[in-house]
């Protein structure tokens, strides 16, 4: 089986040391984490992790089950790009004088749908969101023309295209168990 990019989504309790509990499962199987994004989810007290890895499907299935079984993890699943609407955000810092040396930057701003976050005599900060390939393309263009002083790209964030909402399924299960216990 060939390696493919998989996006793993994890909902967890917000406790100390949770990230370590997740990363050690990748470490054991020598899988590199490509991107990682963590933030509070729409539900109070529940955190959401979005992780991308290159792996075979059978490997990602095993890893996700091992993550899912950790006591503090509420739900873990994986998707391929076809199942997702996904996005990354990138910031680019370039020297103002070199940028002005290009003449007009209108074409570039339109072509790449760039936003300008900051501009002063020494530098300009661009922001671009998109898929990895898109933010990379702008990076390549800026590097080969004006040079990039600093560059940062976020981890992937993603939403599933599926009509079934895993999160609401999970909450229903939780409620059922909670009711059984009360």
């Amino acid at each position: 089986m060939e390696n493919k990019l998989y996006t793993i989504t994890i909902f967890s309790e917000n406790t100390v040391g949770l990230l370590n509990q997740i990363t050690i499962i990748f470490t054991r199987r020598a899988i590199n984490i490509e991107t990682l994004s963590v933030s509070p989810s729409a539900l109070k007290g529940i955190h959401k992790f979005t992780i991308t890895v290159y792996a075979t499907e059978s490997m990602v299935e095993k890893v996700v089950k091992q993550i899912d079984k950790r006591v503090d993890i509420l739900k873990s699943y994986y998707n391929t790009d076809e199942d997702l609407v996904h996005q990354e955000i990138a910031l680019y810092k370039v020297a103002t004088d070199k940028l002005l040396g290009l003449g007009s930057i209108e074409k570039m701003v339109r072509q790449y749908n760039i936003s300008i976050l900051e501009m002063n005599e020494t530098f300009v900060v661009f922001q671009k969101s998109g898929h990895y390939a898109e933010t990379q393309q702008l990076f390549n263009e800026l590097s080969s023309t004006v040079g990039v002083l600093q560059f940062i790209r976020s981890g992937r964030v993603a939403i599933t295209k599926s009509k079934v909402e895993r999160l609401s399924d999970m909450l229903e299960t939780l409620k059922k168990f909670e009711d059984q216990n009360n």
Binding site: V16, Q21, E61, K65, K69, D72, I73, L74, N181
Partner: protein, 565 residues
């Protein structure tokens, strides 16, 4: 309602009592001293066993848990004590043994400062625990203890670590204990799915050559009776994994023996001849499967397990059945048609006879030459009417004890299966005896493993724990030597051992002992060992270059079984 104020240490102990704890294996030290001070007032309610090393405390707690079905408890200090528990915790993780290990920790304001005996216990133990948690305030102790015991014992059991800072042990709080019965992010026992059960039953009903592999899941869920009914109704032969030993009694008609690298011939061969393979609470360990690419390819696989992560981990299941074996086995049995598979079951005998002729006879009934491990184990099993708890160390002694002991009741083999921890024997036997005081406990060890935790003889002396210890002494690290002979051109690199006078060491600990050098003295020595319920060391000098056969070499096909000369 007003609750009584107590120190964190008292809350810790009261909480454990609420969880039904009566025995603790531990070792005091700086960061756990407040808890030990409180324990002093509970001496009439809690039996604390002072081991000679924290690793011994964890293995003792494992032995206790494995025979009693209760959760084993350890209480140790921070730093080196905590790191000394890692082997036992890892062992419990791989063998699904419920443990709660409580470690002291430096006061909360010193966390992260490299304080004296400070170590990141939660960070170190997360990979080898079901749950690890640091308690920094007294208010969290009762809650965390309740949660720890719930997690350790429920679902697929495992070890839990609670790291309690010293300030939390000293501070005062109200004691209000609520047992934990539910954690929203944790579903210990999956609900039985009727469709999965129906599919499994349908496949079994259509089978001509069904075959079951019995693992520890049957023991952990207490499904031994349900297992027997299942087998009898559809006339299904079964074999057991190392940790599934004694889930079926040895004389059960459908019990066909031991699986894996040093298992019996027919159980391994039949894996690749059956048409339906039913795995019950076992995890297709590599020591059982050998080469996965040639493993049971002809069979439909039904996999009963409580742990979703085991399904399709090593062997792809055609019909997974999630849940506790206690629930899934009767559910499937109900849908089974009574069947007879006489011809299929009789076909095991060809291999059994072959194994007896080539291996078993000379191992169990040697007529001349040096003593063998097998004959010692056979004689002790017979002398205890096959009722003893057998505890083993790791290596040749372990495989021989598993193969040649007979089992008449469940929870009768305590051994380090997954981690293969040398030094497990002595402390695990102590815990087993304390967990089942009415039973005879016989511990088989090699001369190597015995010396890894030999200091626990001190614990046995102080507590007068009536374990019967048998060293099968071949003056070698026998299993490694066997591999060197078979796979490394007989280059015996650092496996020969010059040993001390073990009986003299036992005597120094006021433990009675005998060394047997000749076969004609063996029966009398065994009788002497079993004459009362006191601790005893029997050293038997066995053949130096004995081999454990049959052997399926690591990574080989299950049908590639070596039988020796």
């Amino acid at each position: 309602m007003e609750h009584k104020k107590m120190s964190g240490s008292q809350i810790l102990i009261e909480s454990m009592i609420k969880e039904g704890v009566d025995t603790i294996f531990g070792y005091p030290g700086g960061a756990i001293m407040p808890a030990f001070d409180a324990l002093y007032d509970y001496r009439n309610r809690l039996n604390h066993i002072l081991t000679r090393h924290e690793q011994g405390a964890t293995h003792a707690a494992q032995g206790y848990a494995r025979v009693s079905g209760k959760t084993g408890v350890c209480l140790v200090t921070s730093g080196p004590a905590a790191t000394n528990t890692i082997t036992g915790i890892s062992d419990a993780m791989l063998d699904s043994t419920p443990l709660v290990v409580i470690t002291g920790q430096v006061v909360a304001p010193l966390l992260g400062t490299d304080a004296f005996q400070e170590i990141d216990v939660v960070g170190i133990t997360q990979p080898v625990t079901k749950w690890a948690y640091q308690i920094r305030r007294v208010e969290d102790i009762a809650w965390a203890v309740a949660r720890a015991f719930y997690i350790a014992k429920s679902g697929r059991p495992g070890p839990v670590v609670l790291d309690i800072t010293k300030n939390a042990q000293i501070q005062q709080a109200e004691f209000d204990y609520k047992p934990c019965t539910y954690i929203r992010s944790y579903i210990p026992v999956p609900e039985v799915n009727k469709d999965q059960v129906a599919l499994a039953a349908e496949i079994i009903n259509g089978a001509k050559k069904p075959y079951a592999l019995v693992g520890q899941g049957v023991v952990l869920s207490g499904a031994e009776a349900e297992l027997k009914t299942f087998h009898e109704k559809a006339d299904i032969p079964a074999a057991w994994t190392l940790l599934g030993a004694s889930a079926m009694s040895t004389d059960f008609r459908l019990n066909k023996g031991f699986l894996g690298m040093h298992g019996n011939v027919s159980p391994n061969m039949k894996t690749n001849e059956c048409d339906v393979l039913i795995a019950i609470g076992m995890r297709f360990d590599d020591r059982v499967t050998g080469d996965l690419n040639t493993y049971a390819k002809q069979a439909k696989i039904i996999h009963l397990d409580i742990d979703m992560a085991e399904i399709n981990k090593n062997v792809k299941a055609d019909a997974p059945v999630l849940g506790s074996a206690k629930d899934t086995l009767p559910a499937i049995t109900e849908l089974l048609k009574p069947a007879k598979h006489t011809e299929w079951i009789d076909s095991f005998k060809v291999y059994d006879d072959q194994e007896f002729d080539k291996v078993i006879r000379k191992e169990l009934y040697p007529e001349s030459g040096e003593m063998t491990m097998g004959e010692v184990i056979r004689k002790i099993s017979e002398a205890t009417q096959h009722k003893a708890v057998i505890v083993t160390d790791v290596g040749q002694n372990q495989m021989m004890a598993a193969r040649y002991s007979k089992y008449s009741q469940t929870r009768s083999l305590v051994t380090s299966g997954g981690l293969g921890t040398m030094g497990f024997g002595i402390p695990a036997a102590m815990g087993a005896k304390i967990g089942a005081p009415e039973r005879t406990v016989c511990m088989f060890s090699g001369d190597g493993g015995f010396q890894m935790t030999i200091q626990e003889l001190g614990t046995i002396m102080q507590e007068q724990i009536g374990v019967k210890m048998i060293i099968l002494n071949n003056h070698f690290l026998g299993m490694v030597r066997q591999w060197q002979e078979m796979f490394f051109d007989e280059r015996y690199s650092f496996t020969e051992m010059q040993n001390p006078d073990f009986v003299a060491i036992a005597k120094a600990y006021r433990i009675e002992g005998t060394e047997v050098l000749k076969r004609e003295n063996l029966d009398a020595a065994i009788a002497d060992m079993l004459k009362d319920d006191k601790p005893y060391l029997l050293v038997v000098n066995v053949e130096k270059k004995g081999m454990v056969y049959p052997m399926m070499p690591a990574g080989a096909c299950v049908t590639n079984i070596l039988l020796g000369d």
